[in-house]
Amino acid sequence: MKKIFSRPKSLKDAPFHYCPGCGHSIAHRLICEVIDELDIRGIAIGVPPAGCAVLAYNYLDIDMIESPHGRGPAMATGIKRMLPDRVVFSYQGDGDLAAIGIAESFHAANRGENITVIFINNAVYGMTGGQLAPTTTMGQRTTTSPLGRTRELEGYPVQVCELLSGLRGTTYIERCAVNTPANIMKTRRAIKKAFEYQMDNKGFTLVEILSPCPTNWKMSSVEACKWISDVMTKEFPLGVMKDIPSAQEKKAVAAHD
């Protein structure tokens, strides 16, 4: 029989420190699978965040340079501008991207930097103990919203994809999830597309990944995956929010017909 699935080459042979059922682990593997498939291990540069994924460089066997909390897109901007032939991505949590780093994210997107942002939305500050994040869902209980998120106290969850899609500088934005095998395969395709667009100099790409945090959600791993389908996707609908190159291609084909 033929081996059809094993560890990607770009993923170091190191056990993850993440909790059981953590979506970061799946996201890391998918990035490595895409790096292998596109054969870009030698030219990929990743920027990990402050957050549970702070040690991502222990797992991805590529060049990585740690960013201060939330500043990943600014670091990635600098790296990409100096080394335009590299594939540069920041990897950021929701606290990192949508709270402390919202300015850097917003303006890198608005400038249309030719970088990719991998955005892990797990609806909490995972690393620091499950506090409310900008993406905490309405009514969700966290350590700092023990009675559940309300409009009056914390406001509405921030929909990062929708927000950044409205900026003319952005090229490709898709929201995915890693809670079912089918969604995981879609996430893999989205990461691949984002990296390919970057390699074709198409501009700013972002893949949001709804990602289970069973520990802080106080659920089993299986319940956490179900919660993404039942609750999280209602607040954060899955799908392509913006894909300029594909829209242009369709237009060109239509004009030709």
Binding site: M1, K2, K3, I4, F5, S6, R7, L11, P15, F16, Y18, C19, P20, G21, C22, G23, S25, I26, R29, T180, P181, I184, M185, P214, S220, S221, V222, C225
Partner: protein, 70 residues
Amino acid sequence: MKGYIVINKEICKECHLCISVCNRDCISPSTEYNLKGYHPVFYNDNGKCNGCGLCATICPDVAIEVYRER
């Protein structure tokens, strides 16, 4: 189609996501301990595995290898 899987029990963290997606009942919980203190799951070789790879696709810890007849 026939297949089988190999589970690395030392890196399994007992999340049971693989069990939840295998619709052929090929993976079962165990009560043994690995070095990390988890109860790793084991491959229940009932002859039904078709090598679909769903278990490995969702396994966060990359603990599963999948083999399939081509």
